[in-house]
């Protein structure tokens, strides 16, 4: 058993979660507060990556990112970015695929914050950005946590899309989920169990720590 796939997995999960957070906060903000007519459509679109089987979604990504297509070719030539069979490709694909897990909870968090808090902040001359970071986000911590945990866990377990677009290259795109899958396919159950257990235990540890910190259960150890 090698540690490479595990390290790669957590790297992918971390990068994806952070990138998702960055993308989802403005998007959720817009979805929560905008009165635009196309809002319900955007809201629906955000959920759509979920309804296609991951492998199929991965297949469409493969087509979109392939250097043969206009988009993929342009990325490749103009920017030198190759999205198929590469780590950045995995990140982009996971990002799109996990988007709803981040956007939906944050959006419902925003809609739960009393308007007068935002208004009070505006009256103090604070910009929308300051209000977002100092007032809104700190007050929707449970929703942010939900978004982060769901996206993180989901990216750890992500498989179909990654399999499709990653090409199972050891050290580059062979994440733990694929390694486990390989072992199951090869009927090496002992090995698969071992991988699964390791993945499970590590993720369990990470999430448990997050929840303990969030619940204030760890405070006594700091003081």
């Amino acid at each position: 058993m090698s540690w490479e796939p595990l390290i790669l997995t957590f790297k992918l999960a971390l990068v994806t979660t952070l990138a998702l957070l960055t993308v989802s906060i403005p998007l959720s903000y817009w979805l929560a507060y905008s009165k635009a007519r196309i809002k319900p459509i955007v809201q629906t679109l955000v959920s759509m990556p979920l309804v296609l089987p991951p492998t199929v979604l991965g297949f469409y990504f493969l087509i979109a990112f392939s250097p043969n297509t206009i988009f993929g070719g342009w990325l490749n030539e103009a920017l030198g970015i190759q999205l198929v069979f590469s780590f950045p490709g995995l990140v982009v694909a996971s990002l799109l695929y996990s988007l709803p897990f981040m956007v939906h909870p944050i959006q419902s968090g925003f809609s739960g914050v009393s308007n007068s808090l935002r208004e009070a902040s505006y009256l103090m001359g604070k910009s929308k950005l300051q209000t977002l970071f100092k007032v809104l986000l700190p007050n929707i911590k449970p929703s942010l946590l939900t978004g982060i945990v769901l996206s993180f866990a989901h990216t750890v377990g992500e498989f179909g899309v990654v399999l499709m677009i990653g090409g199972n290259i050891p050290g580059k795109t062979k994440v733990a989920s694929i390694a486990i899958y390989d072992e199951v396919e090869a009927l090496n159950y002992a090995s698969a169990n071992f991988y699964s257990l390791t993945l499970f235990v590590i993720t369990f540890g990470i999430l448990l720590t997050v929840y303990l910190i969030n619940g204030g259960h760890l405070k006594k150890f700091w003081k």
């Binding site: 493969l62 087509i63 392939s66 198929v84 090409g167 390989d182 199951v184 396919e185 090869a186 009927l187």
Partner: protein, 233 residues
């Protein structure tokens, strides 16, 4: 279940085109309808071991059927019904596929099935080793879960060249997209594909058996040949 005039046939992905034709013929002769469950051999094997309601299993190799037999999930020892052929495919019409060409800089990715799980992947690795290419192309290799996925890599152009089963090219959309060459059968261990009749309730038995017999008839073997398998000599 228990519908005795229906067969559920589990079949590995490299057979997905030929099996349709064979099953159609079989139904024509016997009046027994067939449900086809296509998947990777490993997954199908795992399911069979947990009691999947399949009557017959056509694997891409002998390893899985053998194991099923040993663990008591099969009625009788597996038999080889066909030998798979490995081909080298180039998805760009401009390129005439040749093994040496794999080293060319214009080839960024070479697709093959996962050697760990798929017999066609194992064969492809053997070919590369045989020709001393492993070292020079190893950074270009991308692995599909199965032959089917390998084909998807190539058909989308994500991989420029790759190894696949001949049976998945004959008369399929992919063959229109590029050129392929068959590889020297001496450069890889023959891909023996096994069929096995599964341990099951007796109502299905006769039908299973008749299908097993049917696949070895001249008619079925001709179809297999047409799809690029060589049959048991």
């Amino acid at each position: 279940r228990g519908n005795s005039d229906k067969l559920t046939i589990a079949v590995s992905s490299n057979m997905q085109y030929s099996i349709e034709e064979i099953a159609a013929k079989y139904t024509e002769h016997t009046g027994i309808a067939c449900d086809l469950v296509v998947g990777s051999s490993g997954k199908l094997t795992a399911q069979i071991m947990e009691g999947a309601p399949f009557d017959v299993f056509l694997s891409a190799d002998m390893k899985y059927p053998q194991m099923l037999y040993q663990k008591g999930h099969a009625k009788a020892a597996p038999k080889i019904y066909a030998l798979g052929k490995l081909v080298l495919f180039a998805s760009n019409k401009e390129i005439v596929p040749k093994l040496e060409f794999l080293k060319n800089d214009s080839i960024a990715h070479i697709a093959l099935a996962n050697p760990k799980t798929a017999p066609y992947g194992r064969a492809a690795m053997e070919v590369l080793e045989h020709n001393g290419l492993v070292y020079s192309v190893k950074d270009k290799l991308v692995y599909g879960e199965s032959v089917s996925q390998t084909n998807q890599f190539m058909s989308t152009g994500a991989a420029q060249m790759g190894f696949t089963a001949k049976s998945t090219l004959i008369g399929t959309p992919l063959s229109q997209q590029g050129h392929w060459i068959a590889l020297d059968t001496n450069s890889y261990t023959p891909i023996q594909q096994g069929i096995v009749m599964l341990e099951d309730d007796t109502a299905q038995d006769r039908a299973s058996l008749s299908f097993l017999e049917f696949i070895f008839t001249e008619e079925a073997q001709e179809i297999l040949k047409k799809y690029g398998y060589s049959t048991h000599e």
